[in-house]
Each structure stands twice: as C-alpha cells, then as structure tokens.
C-alpha cells in the first residue's frame, strides 16, 4: 500500500522523581516542582508530544505542572492514588486536540496476600484518523523493594502480557504502546522473555505474540569514543552513583506491538526513539543530592492515510 503521512504521534515517558511511592506526603518535593514543570514545558515546546507518561507524581504535582505549562490543549489522565498501602504514582498528559480519551483501566494482580501493579491501560482515539491506541504506563517496583532476581519480576512481565490479551480479542492487530520505568533493563528476563519484548524486529513482525522494544538500541554509550568536544555521552536513562558494575541502566523504555511495524495506518519511526538529555537535567541527574535521577525517553509513530 502507499501511504500519506498525516501527522506524527509523539509519545514520551519521564519518571520525574517528584513524589516517589515511598514519600510520606503527597505534596512532593516542593522546591523541585518548578524545575520539573520547566522541563515538561520544554518537552512540549521541542517535541510537541501527544502523550507524556509520568511517574513519581502526585495529583498536586500534576495540577502545578499543568498550570505552569499553561497550554490549554493539554489534559491529564490522573491515575495516582496514595490512599492505600500500595501507591499509584503514574499519570499521563495528553494533547486533546489530537487524541480523545476512550477508556482507562488500572491493572493489578493478586496472589495470596500479595498485589502487583502491572500498569495503567489508557485507550485513546486519534482525532485525525479514528484509530485506537492503547497506552500502558508502568512503574514497576524498584530493586530496593523487589530484588533484581525476584520471581515477582518475571510475574510482572508475564501478567502484563496476559492482561493485553483482551485488547487482542477486540482487535487481533492492535496498536499497543507500553511505556514505563520497569526498573529492569531491556535484556532483563522480565521484559525480554516474560513480556516478550524482543530486540528482534523481524520476529515481532512475524509473530504477534511478541512486542518490539526499540530501546535495546539505547543500552550503550550514546557517542562513540573519542567524542568530539561538545558531545555529551550517556549510556542509559537512569543514573545511580552507587552502581556496582555500572552506574547507568536503561530502565525507561517505550515498547510497541507489531502493528506499528507493518503496512498499517500507524507506523513507528524508529530512529526517533531516543533518550532526551538536556545539559541542565544531566547536571541534576548526576548529582546524587538531587531528586532527579531519570532522563525522559521518546518515540514517534506516524499516522498515515492510504493514497
């Protein structure tokens, strides 16, 4: 088929660090709100995002951020909930001139006394083409609360994949985007084996049981050695100064269903899947006294119409 590009669909994810699940109060780290809001305003200006998934935010943070940005075309899907022992700290900001909110669902698994939060499934309809795009925002437990090799990490991946089955029942080739801070790298078994988020694009195209993870390509140093004077090289989305074998990890990712890789109305533009680094955020991320320890990540797909 021959396609005409209509507009980009830009999806971003950022774990802000403002109100972590362990925070006792929901008013976040008040002095840091203006910086975070400034960063989001810059993201809006530079990337014209359609969806921005956020983690470690509270309802109060969201209200502040939206007021600070002052863009009336933006709306919030607030999925935060701090009333129970298990805290929900994710949200989405979306552009309501390009997307309509169709549905939202909080996905949890219970086993015995335990409860796992898989993510928040939000379904949007694109205004220009009427396609449904299902976005799941996840903030999986940190490695301090759930060890790197805990079987629960495998369970998170497996259960998240199973919870998407109902989307496949309604449409065998759905547009699904997973975004989040998984506290696991793309190569971790939870994502690569149990969620089936593969690095193998052809395999994802051939077998709809798989998802494609373009962030496999963002594991190493972003600039080859030797770097030129002005180039800033980073090798991950999250920096932890006390890391034993590496201080960098790629915990923040966007993962796509095979529909984005086919001859379809929405197509992934993979080269625009990237880690967004600004000099001022990098300074804060690498300063362990600061609350900010993640970079935003972005991916772009194009909405198309058949000619």
């Amino acid at each position: 088929m021959t396609w005409n590009r209509i507009k980009p669909l830009t999806l971003l994810w950022w774990n802000t660090g403002l109100t972590p699940p362990t925070a006792k109060k929901s008013n976040g780290r008040l002095p840091d709100r203006p910086f975070a809001a400034d960063q989001i305003r810059l993201l809006r200006k530079n990337y014209k995002f359609d969806v921005l998934g956020l983690a470690e935010v509270s309802a109060e943070d969201l209200e502040f951020i939206l007021r600070h940005i002052g863009d009336t075309s933006l709306a919030i899907v607030d999925m935060t909930n701090r009333k129970h022992r298990m805290k929900f700290d994710t949200a989405m900001i979306y552009d309501r001139t390009s997307l309509t909110l169709a549905n939202k669902l909080s996905l949890t698994e219970r086993s015995g006394r335990g409860k796992l939060k898989l993510g928040e499934l939000v379904t949007f309809e694109t205004v220009s083409t009427g396609d449904l795009v299902h976005v799941v925002a996840s903030h999986w437990p940190s490695r301090r609360t759930l060890a790197q090799h805990s079987s629960k990490r495998a369970e998170l991946g497996m259960r998240l994949r199973q919870s998407l089955e109902k989307v496949h029942l309604a449409n065998p080739n759905p547009y699904i985007v997973l975004m989040g801070d998984y506290n696991d790298d793309p190569f971790s078994p939870s994502l690569s084996e149990h969620l089936h988020a593969t690095r193998d694009r052809e395999l994802a195209i051939q077998d709809s049981a798989f998802l494609y993870n373009p962030f496999w390509r963002r594991l190493g140093e972003s600039q080859s050695f030797p770097t030129s004077g002005n180039e800033v090289s980073i090798c991950g989305t999250h920096y932890y100064d006390g890391g034993e074998f590496t201080r960098w990890v790629t915990f923040d990712q966007l993962i796509f269903s095979p529909a984005f890789l086919g001859d379809n109305a929405i197509a992934l533009e993979e080269k625009l899947s990237e880690i967004i680094v600004t000099a001022e955020l990098k300074d804060r991320v690498m300063d362990k006294r600061q609350v900010f320890d993640h970079f935003p990540v972005s991916s772009v797909a194009f909405l198309r119409r058949e000619i």
């Binding site: 909080s106 949890t108 698994e109 219970r110 086993s111 015995g112 006394r113 335990g114």
Partner: protein
C-alpha cells in the same frame, strides 16, 4: 509412542482440581453475598447476572434465597456482579466478572480497576477492595437510600420494573 494413558490421567486430575477451584470460588462468592445481605439487613442482595440479561433477551439470574447462585457461574459468558434491592425494583452493576473453566484466575473489573485474583485469599481481598471503592460504595449507598425512601413512602400498586442503573 505417545503416552495417552498418562495424558488421560493428567486430564482427569486437572478436571478434579478445576472442579475444586470452582467450588471454592462459589463458596467465597456465597460468603460475600451473605455478609452483604446481613450487614444491609436484607435490603441488598448480590447476584451474578449474564451481560445478555441486560439486553432483555433472556436472564440467567437465578435467585436463590436472594443470594449468589453458583449454578449460573458458567464459562465464557460476560457477567456482572450486581446489587439488587429487595424493597425497590433496582439493580446496580458493581463489577464485571469473569471466571475461567479452571477456576482461577478470576477477573473483577470495576470503576477503572481490573483485578486478576489467582487464589482464594486473593479473591477475598479483591472483593473487599471492590467494596472499598468510592464508586461501588456510592452504588450501594444509593440503593440503600432508595430502599429506605420506599419504606417511608406510602405503598402503591406499581408494576415491577427491571430498571438498571450503571
């Protein structure tokens, strides 16, 4: 040669396990319904109703002492956990309900939440969580208030309706 004897025995064991799991789920649902009926002094009864019941085509809701009836908890039919007022002709949908043939996991979907429960304790906690939800709480509160209002107002000969409010 494929060991069909072994496969057969495994299938028989699986069938028994599934039957036990379904019986356990029925027991949890019955306890849930009975407790709610008791705490509301018989004003609210909990039922499972097939989705098609709402279309008016047919109803699978078999009321047994106004409580949860496991006999309708079959497979592959979308169902709702509903609250029915005993004093008013009102039915409130509380949650979507899905239970596979093997019993677990049961899926409870309400008010923007989807909880998949993998064992008895998880199911009990999932149902309790549903009751704690503000939207579900509101449905039950409204049903209670309607019932109280019906008791306090003079009775009239009104034909029963099947009005369902979501």
């Amino acid at each position: 040669m494929t060991d069909f004897t072994k496969a057969f025995r495994q299938g028989q064991r699986a069938a028994v396990d599934a039957k036990d799991a379904r019986a356990q789920i029925d027991q949890v649902m019955t306890d849930f319904a009975q407790q709610l009926n008791r705490v509301t002094e018989g004003i609210i009864s909990i039922e499972l109703i097939a989705d098609s019941a709402f279309s008016g085509l047919f109803t699978m809701a078999v009321r047994l002492g106004k409580l949860y009836d496991p006999s309708i908890d079959g497979d592959n039919v979308e169902k709702w956990i509903v609250a029915r007022g005993s004093l008013v002709p009102e039915v409130r949908r509380l949650a979507r309900w899905k239970r596979p043939h093997q019993g677990y996991p049961c899926l409870i979907t309400y008010s923007g939440n989807e909880e998949r429960c993998h064992d008895r304790e998880a199911l009990e906690r999932g149902l309790a969580s549903m009751l704690q939800d503000p939207w579900v709480g509101d449905q039950l509160r409204q049903l209670l208030e309607l019932s109280k209002a019906a008791v306090n107002s003079p009775t009239e000969d009104e034909p029963p309706s099947n009005s369902v409010t979501e």
